[in-house]
Subunit: 344 residues, 2 copies
Amino acid sequence: MTHRTTRCVVLDSYANGTALSESHFSLESKTLAPLAESQVLLQTLVLSPDPYMRGRMTGMDNFFLPQFELRAPLVGFGVARILESRNPAFTPGQLVHGSIEWAEMSNWGANLYVASLGSLELLDPQIKPHRRALDVLGITGLTAYFGALEVARPRRGETLLISGAAGSIGSIVGQIAKIRGARVIGLAGSDRKCAVLKEQLGFDAALNYRSASLEQQLRELMPTGPDIYFDNVGGPLTQMVMWQMQRPARVIECGQISTYDQDGGGWNLDIRPIHGQGLSWEGFTPVQFQEFFPAALAQLGYWLRSGKVIALETVINGFENAPRSLAGLFRGDNLGKMLLNVAD
Amino acid sequence: MTHRTTRCVVLDSYANGTALSESHFSLESKTLAPLAESQVLLQTLVLSPDPYMRGRMTGMDNFFLPQFELRAPLVGFGVARILESRNPAFTPGQLVHGSIEWAEMSNWGANLYVASLGSLELLDPQIKPHRRALDVLGITGLTAYFGALEVARPRRGETLLISGAAGSIGSIVGQIAKIRGARVIGLAGSDRKCAVLKEQLGFDAALNYRSASLEQQLRELMPTGPDIYFDNVGGPLTQMVMWQMQRPARVIECGQISTYDQDGGGWNLDIRPIHGQGLSWEGFTPVQFQEFFPAALAQLGYWLRSGKVIALETVINGFENAPRSLAGLFRGDNLGKMLLNVAD
């Protein structure tokens, strides 16, 4: 049995109260131990830089997930190929997905934090390309599906405003809301992103949130505010939107990405507009709907195949670009889902 | 026309990021100008120290109401008698209620901040004692009525947990929820308050939130958490409660009194339990239901007369105790509505 060497991405320092940047990470060499009983050797194909990972990089207790260990490989969702197996459930050549190390190769089966979403699973061969298991047909798509259909529940004719609309979840939520008959307006960080939302995804309108006249533009589009605000962003943008909403309008909170760099890791909200405008604010995580993942994945698969939902993606190639794929996610470098392609 | 002298309460300094105390106020003498056209001279009978006033004492922009001017008389809800009138709508001897100066006598009709709840109004002679216009039959009762019936909407058999349950609003919300068939559990700051909730108001249970075993007691009473949490308090107590709640449980936010001493005036919320537990969080102000005040006041009057709703009150006598009535409100000195009786 040979001792293999691989590269992995480690967190060099926590980023609390400061922007995450490439300098927080480094690529390191690692020698893999021989496979232990029940382990498999994985070749990483695609990794999924996800906003929730930021909460594991602050060094602060975040209530949801434990902090990443400094100088140890990051862990996140990914798609991989089985290279060797000492586990009867897996055979070399099979494709799998689950929580894996941010490494080109890794021994799976010990010491990995496994999210409650499950362990390593065989990839459904219908999922093509296989990176769809990390966006529309993965936790991203499931979050959008349940957020749109079980939490936001837009009625026909209601106006749904989405922040982070060109992001991984927002872009899917908007398309599902259109299928449901809502009027969908997106907020995104560049004119190019707005154009894609309107022209490729069929949004009714899209506004660049960096525009100085945003507040005025929102008032013109929605004189009494949106009926539903699907929020991926938080912070001052969300404050401003909420002051324009009127009871019984509702906010669906899916993420607060603009706050994660704050001291303490963010997730703080000034509730005065909720109080003053009589709004409701609803949070959720997809895990709450876990029993219904089969239905959701089947439906999302149907929508993908029929072209009713389009997968927007930004694929960065090359494992050496892993730090950029992570830091860039919080700068809005991505249009749709950020993905890191490691090997074909 | 004589020049009258009266006493008034002024704010000496703003209290931002620090507890409000008697030392922030002083009593001052004031000479009243002769009545101008359309003004009336009021003799103050009862004043209403209310939690929302704290937001006018921070020196910070609070979005809701302007800051009190330093060294000028405070303004708040009160009941008064017309002593003199140069306004055809009022006759000496009549009782009125509305936003008035914290003074033993005052000229009404100029320079008062008038809440959107209306101006000076004749007191309905059916309201007895007249201080009921400041609690069950005033904005306090209206807040409780709409908060309970239009926002919280407890269904028969649901468990409603109330923080600040022995306060002015909480004590009424609990009684209305009992009428609606809910199981009602109160959180209050002393064993005596808890006893009153159970023995006088018919709460199913009441817990002292200062108890070291509170979390355990809550779990025993509500193994899956409350269905509805009616929150008057906010802060760490609310955080703890929310972590025990399970989707689709809901929080009704009526006030956040434990946060008002914070730098910036409070109203900040750590939303992680809302996100993680999939809760909904709803805010409101009674003004949103203003069109329906007549129905609410008629219903509250019926409940009062029939004894189905009991007015809990803490009456402090003597204008010189005005600072204590205000500061004490934020120490929990009150059982039910805090009232300052100025004259009979």
